[in-house]
Symmetry: C2
Subunit: 232 residues, 2 copies
């Protein structure tokens, strides 16, 4: 029992919680690393050198996030490679199944795909200690994708009416694959569970709360598709 | 005529020289941008997350160089995209013809291919004004490729004797393609010529000097191949 007004126990002393945070930082770190490689690679489709450079700058920002997460894992005494490894198959699988065929598909994926992932991780951040939360929210900050992608995609749809239908299907596929991979991670990796079930000093999320999170994910996805001028 | 002791005329006031410097910075900028995308993409072959991250860090350093060259082009009143465009075909062609088939070929290309390009541009830097030279020498500084590639390739060859023969052929092909593309650029883009022929205030390079530069390129290439444990 903690006396009222006494400093709260450091939640990281609880080994289950510590493992859950290591996992959360691990999946985020590998996510940022793959986002970096994917953005740099998608630039192949860029129609101009300026677009190639713009995508490059976003990729570099993602790499900066990867480095911060990596540094925090080391600080926690974790082996970053071991922390990331459990999520390699799911994240590589997502990117393999959603390889963009052209420039507009790349942009929709950068905006809509990263948006879904960010919403999901940001929701998890409500259940971690303040230091971890600050880091997670920081590395999920928009690196400029949003405005860039929205502007380019809207202009492309305005110039080619048929494109809207194809990209709307693409957006739905991205959501489906993202949810399928998230379920796979959750099923394979139950070390993340303590974040949602809570602990002596931390409130958990109940089923209603989880339902709310998934509702919000879909609403935010619909909002992003609308921003692109697409039906969700 | 400049009086002895008077400040030297700014060579950038000569439009031919200015165009030559714009071209030099343009080809370097596009070279760094493609190096960035290529390193990030080659990471697909990386055998571990740590190797993927190491290649990512090098790619990010190349992007920093690209940004410096871009900023200098803007400072000179040039349009960076226009300055890079004349070199897109030759550089994309080089990368298209030398796409690595595996991790070791990626490493040899990062080390040997970038080495040839750096030697070439560093030799050109002897013929430009001090500000431009400082920038060129800075952006050509090794970003960590060398030690990383040498260590990894030597270990791979030690583990697989046949690999050395294949990589030696690969190194020769890289040199051949690099020289072919350099000749193509020189033939298509004679605006770079004033750098070698000199001007009223700048010494040029004579044929003997050019022969010396090419000799040195081949010698340095041989030295790098030897560092990898390969015959040139």
């Amino acid at each position: 029992m903690t006396a009222p007004g006494a400093p709260q126990a450091d939640p990281l002393t609880d080994p289950d919680y510590r493992q859950a945070v290591t996992d959360l930082l691990g999946v985020l770190a590998y996510g940022e690393l793959t986002a970096f490689h994917r953005l740099a690679d998608d630039a192949r489709h860029a129609p101009s050198i300026a677009d190639k450079a713009a995508l490059g700058a976003m990729a570099v920002a993602e790499f900066g996030h990867f480095e911060r997460l990596n540094a925090r894992l080391l600080e926690l005494g974790a082996d970053p490679e071991a922390a990331m490894r459990p999520f390699v198959r799911a994240l590589d699988g997502f990117h393999h199944k959603t390889s963009p065929a052209d420039w507009c598909e790349s942009l929709v994926k950068a905006y809509v795909g990263d948006g879904i992932a960010s919403d999901f991780y940001r929701a998890m951040a409500d259940y971690v200690d303040a230091d971890t939360r600050t880091l997670v929210v920081d590395v999920l900050a928009d690196t400029g994708h949003a405005d860039f992608a929205v502007g380019r995609v809207r202009a492309a749809i305005a110039a080619d009416a048929k494109l809207g239908g194809r990209l709307a299907l693409w957006g739905r596929r991205l959501l489906g694959e993202a949810l399928a991979q998230a379920q796979r991670v959750a099923a394979e990796r139950d070390t993340l569970t303590p974040l949602f079930t809570g602990g002596p000093d931390r409130p958990g999320a109940d089923l209603l709360e989880l339902a709310r999170i998934f509702n919000q994910l879909t609403e935010e996805h619909t909002r992003r598709m609308a921003a692109l001028g697409l039906s969700a």
